[in-house]
């Protein structure tokens, strides 16, 4: 009898976990399908970063010889990390806006009225953004590679960059999801877009911090986007070293964990408000 009562809760935990994983996968599939069925949302987050990349290469190509600029084969090689971060940032806004739309149109209530694990609702949505982040990263590398955006870390580096891109998508997606859960408004989520753009320009996405001066340099140093970009850039420029890989993976991972905690808190707050 004792052994039965001891085993039952464990079985239930395993069953609940397995159900939650199935639910998360099903919701992730939905968010991914939804994303790819809206090319008008997906294409700009691929096209614009590539456009900026080529524009930057032709405009700032000669800046690579400035003092403080790292040793690169081309500006594109330096810019690759910024392009990836830019694309992933904008793609993540789209995913979070979709969560807000679910809240607005009542699909979120449909999920809440079902026995779906509340964490699965959040993670299912973020999994779609994360997968899209990985895909965007791979696309940017493959498109820019023939134009001089070499990845010094080779194939292992490309894989690590793809993982890093996915983690950046998860981190930004979770932060944007917090905005969606807090406001329940897709307009509010879309409203963060200019803010992200400003943050991107006040980071080391387009120029190394070493070439900056004054307040701009201070802001770029404090800006988390600089650290996300520089992790990716380390793989692109330094090669597949332990330090580069750690920076590329651990920085976005730490931000993602923090962002997930914020998003979970916002989810609980929204559920409590009901």
């Amino acid at each position: 009898m004792t052994s039965t009562t001891a085993v039952m809760p464990e079985t239930q935990v395993v069953r609940s976990l397995s159900t939650a994983i199935r639910q998360t996968i099903a919701l992730a599939r939905r968010s991914t399908l939804e994303l790819f069925r809206q090319p008008a949302l997906v294409v700009p987050s691929l096209i614009f970063p590539l456009f900026f990349s080529f524009l930057g290469n032709s405009t700032f190509g000669k800046t690579t010889s400035l003092p403080g600029f790292p040793q690169v084969n081309s500006y594109l090689q330096f810019q690759l990390a910024g392009t990836i971060t830019q694309g992933v940032l904008f793609g993540s806004v789209t995913g979070a806006a979709a969560l807000a739309t679910d809240i607005e149109n009542g699909f979120f209530d449909r999920l809440l009225a079902s026995p779906t694990s509340r964490t699965s609702i959040l993670f299912g949505r973020l999994a779609g953004s994360t997968l899209f982040g990985a895909l965007e990263t791979a696309i940017f590398i493959l498109v820019l590679l023939p134009f001089g955006a070499d990845v010094a870390a080779g194939v292992p580096g490309i894989i690590a960059m793809t993982i890093s891109g996915a983690l950046i998508a998860l981190a930004v997606g979770a932060l944007m999801a917090s905005v969606a859960l807090k406001t329940g408004s897709s307009e509010a989520v879309q409203g963060t877009f200019p803010l992200l753009f400003i943050l991107l320009f006040f980071s080391s996405a387009f120029f190394p911090r070493e070439t900056m001066s004054g307040i701009y340099r201070t802001i770029a140093g404090l800006n988390p986007i600089s650290h996300l970009v520089e992790g990716l850039r380390a793989l692109s420029l330094e090669g597949f070293t332990a330090s580069a890989t750690a920076r590329a993976i651990l920085v976005p991972l730490a931000i993602a964990i923090f962002a997930l905690l914020v998003a979970q808190t916002q989810l609980r707050a929204r559920l409590r408000a009901n």
Binding site: F107, R110, P115, N274
Partner: protein, 338 residues
């Protein structure tokens, strides 16, 4: 303790200063279709959201399918089917994909999913449209898909929140037939509606809710019988209203009429109509329109609330979401609603 599938005791919900639901008590018996009738802003949806675990009651208790809606919310969710007011269905997904998603969310094994999904699609007449995206569906098709989604786990208690609002008459009839069929098969149905005819046609018992309170409850036939006399409705010039009221009041209790009409419950029955017309004529009242109605749910509603549901402004107000629960619906005409 009663084993009825839906029991609410003194259920209250406040949103700040707004008292959307002010202590409702109800018991829905197994196998019943229970109609929750009231205008927008009356508190119907707020009550249903509490019963379906989407809102926590401010006070009071409710048990659904034998489980407490607060303490055993997860068990309640597993036991009930819910089709909410807005038929929130992802337009980018196909009907079949949404059914598959819903099945996973309710923990239905993949081995039975295909069979059940096919059965439900056939049942609601969407087999041919199953692989089409929901964005291509008509309003009626969306509602039917919503119903199919709410049935994927074969619930014994089904909540339908205004299931036919905005539908054309044919789609409404199709949905009514499906509700009757489900009920014949043993499903207990709680249906909120603002349509008198819908409540009359479908519900075994109804509760009329107004400003967060249940003001009448019973079988439609019993409620109509309780009103008693048929209602004579007349329309006259506005400057003759007081004179007409004075004549009508000698034949029975004055009752509210829609769109500025005057009503009187004819205690002596319909046979008195000629007498009423003669008296009005003698008093110099010009009658522009006259009709006699057997007691209807609208009469029951009017008697209970002091205004008519048919004439009430049922344009969406925030009250159903709890923002305007105390505000009296405006007595504005809305022709051809029913």
């Amino acid at each position: 303790m009663s084993n009825s599938p839906i029991i609410a005791e003194n259920l209250v919900r406040h949103f700040g200063d707004v008292h959307a639901v002010k202590g409702i008590n109800l018991e829905v018996k197994a196998g019943e279709v229970f109609g929750f009738l009231g205008p927008n802003g009356a508190g119907k949806s707020t009550a249903v959201r509490m019963l379906t675990t989407l809102l926590r009651p401010t006070s009071g208790t409710a048990r659904v399918a034998g489980f407490d809606v607060v303490k055993q919310a997860d068990q309640v969710r597993r036991s009930i089917g819910v089709a909410l007011q807005d038929a929130a269905i992802d337009p980018l997904m196909t009907g079949a994909e949404l059914l598959a998603l819903q099945a996973v969310l309710y923990g239905i094994p993949a081995s039975v999913l295909k069979k059940r999904s096919d059965e439900l699609l056939e049942r609601v007449g969407l087999t041919a449209a199953a692989s089409r995206r929901v964005s291509t569906y008509s309003g009626g098709m969306r509602r039917r898909l919503d119903l199919a989604l709410s049935l994927i786990h074969q619930p014994t208690v089904l909540f339908l929140d205004e299931p036919t609002t905005g539908l054309d008459p044919m789609s409404r009839l199709t949905l009514w037939e499906e509700v009757r069929r489900l009920n014949r098969e043993g499903t207990t149905v709680m249906l909120t509606t603002q349509y008198l005819e819908e409540a009359d046609q479908l519900a075994d018992r109804i509760a009329i809710i107004d400003h967060g309170k249940i003001v009448r409850e019973g079988k439609p036939a019993d409620l109509k019988a309780s009103v008693g006399a048929p209602t004579l409705i007349i329309k006259t010039n506005i400057d003759q209203t007081e004179k007409a009221k004075s004549v009508l009041s000698t034949f029975g209790d004055l009752r509210p009429g829609a769109e500025g009409a005057l009503g009187v419950g004819l205690i002596g029955g319909a046979a008195l109509v000629t007498e009423v017309v003669r008296k009005l004529d003698e008093a110099g009242v010009h009658v522009a329109h006259l009709e006699i109605n057997e007691p209807s749910l609208d009469d029951v509603f009017a008697e209970a609330t002091g205004y008519r549901l048919e004439g009430a402004d049922n344009a969406p107000s925030a009250g159903d979401n709890g923002d305007n629960g105390d505000e009296k619906p405006k007595k504005k005409s809305r022709r051809g609603r029913k």
